[in-house]
Amino acid sequence: MSSIHADTTTGPDNTAMLTRAVVVLTFFVLAGPAAGHPALYHYLEINLLEPGEVSVYVTFHAPELSTGVAPLEEDIFGREWLATRDDVSLAALVENADRFAGEVFSFRFGDRNVVPDFAFPGFETIRRPPAGSVVPDGCFSGAATLVYERAETDLMIEFSATAEKRLMLIINRPAAFPRVIDLEPGGHFSLALPEAPALSRPDPDRKAILFSGAITLLLLLTLALMRRRRACLR
């Protein structure tokens, strides 16, 4: 797996987040959105496979993320266009994708707005998805995990009226066919969530803090034991 933008996210300990991003992106690349012709719809896939967590995947048709009007070069909206972008262009596309996702989609657990922190594949993976990738030609995807509490029973997804294309919203639950909702710009959809576990799983930041705290405590205990031992030896 190539380098991932999630590497640079903030947090006292990136290990847990990096691990999650790798898992999420591996899952995505190998078994992610079953998009149709990438130019026709926006695609948003929601996986409700683990109670307490919502996995979100957004598929972007990359040429449409360009901010300028591109000239009529060869295969401007096809597979080759994305494969031939340099790092600077891809960085801009990823930044645009992140901004676009924030502008076009909003997520709410009850009254609580949540802003997904999308992770994107590395540049080489965007240029040349691995064999068997389900990402359509000319596209790349962002993945994020949203965590919800036991008291939160619904996720509201709102799709901006400025989106310019329809949205194919795909909801995956265990042992069920995908549920497909075709939304117009300005539409919204509320989906019922599986009940989160009784003790809500700490969010990744809290896990990192707890992990750091545990290490610190262990070190202090070790230090304390060593001093006591020296004192005994004297």
């Binding site: 078994a31 992610g32 959105p33 079953a34 998009a35 149709g36 012709h37 130019a39 026709l40 719809y41 040429p63 449409e64 009007v69 591109a70 000239p71 009529l72 060869e74 295969d75 401007i76 909206f77 096809g78 597979r79 068997g132 990738s133 389900v134 359509p136 030609d137 310019e164 294309k165 329809r166 194919m168 265990p174 042992a175 069920a176 066919f177 995908p178 497909v180 909702i181 075709d182 117009e184 710009p185």
Partner: protein, 625 residues
């Protein structure tokens, strides 16, 4: 006084019948491609090309291979070729393109005309907007970039004896026409529309180029084919009017309004119709949720029987295939018992072969789809997947396929593309559902890609589709593979769609010199089969040239092959008479020399009739290895 009106009328009549007068020293020869020779001070300059070699200068306006060969014949040795700067490198070495084209033709969605040069032609004078070229006798040619019919098109302007003359290539033909409509297919970046969905994508550029040329106030325009244009302002205005009418009509019935919505289609429309134009789009027909027995998986639809088995329509890639695997693993479906393929675009067909092998199920399609699935390399069509299906069971038009509690009826349904089928699905507990592939959406017709061959004939194409939809049982629904809804048109809506489509056929008929609009929209009316084949040195093969006579009269077609080195044919010039509205073909046995160089070679054909003479028109690829 009574004689005055008569004299005036006589003068007017005389004025309109005077021949176009090119200046002294300009010699115009009308032919398959026009030629203008200008001599002075011992120098000879040719515009477009000539059968007479050794011109000192040859001016090319664009890069199509008929012009390239015409220019080559004129330049001989030592002459200088001027051509658009943007294509000079390609002209200098087209071989890399054709080698790569062997694979690039698969999954192809750029939708550009493939009549590109095959042999190199060195460009000594690559030119762009505003450049000036010295000509014989002190003439100065000024270059105007005038893309539209081609991406790279330019016009050469020259002033002589107080007259301004433009050599405009294929930009405009006399009477406000163009050679065809499919050449304008292209992406519309301003509207974020790709080439595949870009019907008339370069019409906006055409209009801007025409307006730019009109602002120069030329006295005469000399196109590369047909008559000299003696009323440039009038013909330019007429051409702009015609393309605007066609594009407005196209947008008013277009399926893309379902997907792309008003912003993008209005942006596309205003590039052609004018910055403040109101763009008419069709509102949505009645649409409802899919029934429980029909699952939407990407561009796959899965029909479920009472016993848990499934029947699939289309399988376009790893995504839908993965969904089917997961459904089997989860026990949501017990087995897949068949796959019907609606059409050959890769987002519907790319995983069919793998799915059929994995699930051990038959693949069904109508004949027009089946051969493309089994022999994709023999075809050049938009978005064809190279993943050949081992075996396709051909269902005749109207053939029934009973399956579990369903009655399935196959249909030839040449809507979104000519190679397209549909499946009528009937069960006792639901209104009939007609799975029409990609041919209609709740907002209209999926005819955005002319390379798909959306024919405008009463006996086929969308007119046949309208007939079939009208003939469905009352209360029937339609389903598009991309759309997770049932939808249907009211009779009034069908009438509107059909009448608008018929209007557009008439508008296109007036736009081009052809006697039937289908020649203007069907690039493949004369095409080789197989489009690509591999033959070893010392071996033989065969090539068929297939024709669609879209005319309402019989046509005699004369063909001359151009064969690359190492390839020979038992006969290379053949004639054939094809009845009106019928198809015909001629076969050419091929032999590959023992010492033929390995690589991709291109065979082309000149095609002539009583009112056309098309050089280097059709092409086929032969990979020698």
């Amino acid at each position: 006084m009574r004689m005055f009106p008569a004299i005036l009328l006589a003068l007017l009549a005389t004025a309109t019948t005077l021949p176009a007068e090119l200046p002294d020293g300009f010699r115009f020869e009308k032919g398959a491609l026009n030629s203008v020779t200008i001599e002075g001070a011992g120098q000879r300059l040719v515009v477009y090309g000539s059968a007479t070699p050794n011109a000192d200068q040859v001016l090319m306006t664009h890069m199509r291979r008929d012009l390239t060969e015409f220019a080559r014949a004129a330049v001989g040795t030592g002459g200088r070729v001027a051509a658009p700067r943007s294509v000079a490198a390609f002209l200098g070495d087209p071989s890399a393109h054709w080698t790569a084209w062997w694979d690039k033709r698969n999954d192809y969605y750029d939708q550009q005309v493939t009549r590109l040069p095959i042999a190199p032609l060195a460009v000594a004078d690559p030119v762009g907007d505003g450049d000036r070229l010295a000509g014989p006798g002190g003439l100065e040619f000024r270059v105007l970039e005038t893309p539209g019919y081609t991406r790279e098109g330019i016009t050469y302007l020259v002033e002589v004896d107080g007259k301004k003359i433009g050599f405009s290539g294929d930009l405009i033909l006399a009477g406000g026409r163009v050679p065809d409509l499919y050449s304008f297919q292209d992406a519309i970046p301003e509207a974020k529309i790709g080439g595949y969905h870009g019907y008339g994508g370069r019409l906006g550029q055409l209009i801007r180029s025409l307006e730019k040329l009109a602002a120069e106030k030329p006295d005469l325009l000399v196109p590369i084919r047909g008559e000299i244009i003696t009323d440039p302002q009038g013909d330019i205005a007429e051409l702009i009017r015609r393309v605007r009418a066609i594009y407005a009509n196209y947008l008013s019935t277009n399926a893309l309004n379902w997907y792309f919505k008003e912003e993008r289609l209005t942006a596309a429309g205003r590039l052609v119709l004018g910055a403040e134009a109101e763009v008419e789009l069709m509102d949505y027909s009645e649409h409802v949720e899919l029934p429980d027995w029909c699952k939407h998986l990407g561009t796959t639809k899965l029909l479920l029987a009472g016993d848990g088995s499934g029947f699939v329509l289309d399988c376009g890639g790893p995504g839908p295939l993965g969904d089917l695997r997961k459904a089997l693993a989860d026990g949501l479906v017990t087995r897949i018992e068949g796959i019907f393929v609606t059409h050959t675009h890769n987002d519907h067909s790319a995983a069919v072969a793998e799915a059929a092998r994995e699930f051990g199920c038959p693949v069904y399609a109508v004949a027009e789809v089946a051969d493309v699935l089994e022999n994709p390399g023999a075809w050049f069509l938009p978005g064809t997947s190279a993943n050949a299906v081992d075996e396709v069971t051909v269902l005749a038009d109207g053939e029934k396929l009973p399956w579990k509690n369903y009655e399935l009826t196959a249909h030839f349904f040449p809507g979104q593309m000519y190679n397209h089928g549909a499946l009528l699905v009937e069960r006792s507990d639901h209104a009939p559902v007609f799975f029409i592939g990609d041919s209609f959406s709740p907002s209209g017709i999926d005819d955005y890609c002319l390379m798909n061959r959306n024919l405008m004939r009463d006996d086929t194409g969308y007119f046949l589709c309208f007939k079939k939809v009208r003939a469905l049982p009352a209360g029937s629904w339609l389903v598009n593979q991309h759309i997770p809804h049932l939808f249907r048109f009211t009779p009034e809506r069908l009438d509107l769609l059909e009448s608008r489509y018929r209007e557009r056929a008439d508008l296109i008929n007036a736009l081009t010199p052809w006697d039937d609009p289908n020649f203007a929209i069907d690039e493949r009316w004369a095409s080789f089969y197989p489009y690509g084949q591999e033959i070893e040195p010392g071996k033989e093969g065969s090539l068929e040239l297939r024709f669609w006579n879209h005319s309402v009269r019989d046509r005699e077609i004369r063909v001359k092959l151009h064969l690359p080195e190492g390839v020979s044919a038992a006969r290379s010039e053949v004639s054939l008479t094809i009845p009106a509205r019928r198809e015909g073909s001629m076969t050419f046995p091929l032999s590959i020399a023992d010492d033929a160089k390995p690589g991709v070679s291109v065979i082309t054909a000149d095609i002539a009739g009583d009112d056309f003479d098309l050089k280097q028109w059709a092409e086929a690829l032969v990979k020698i290895e």
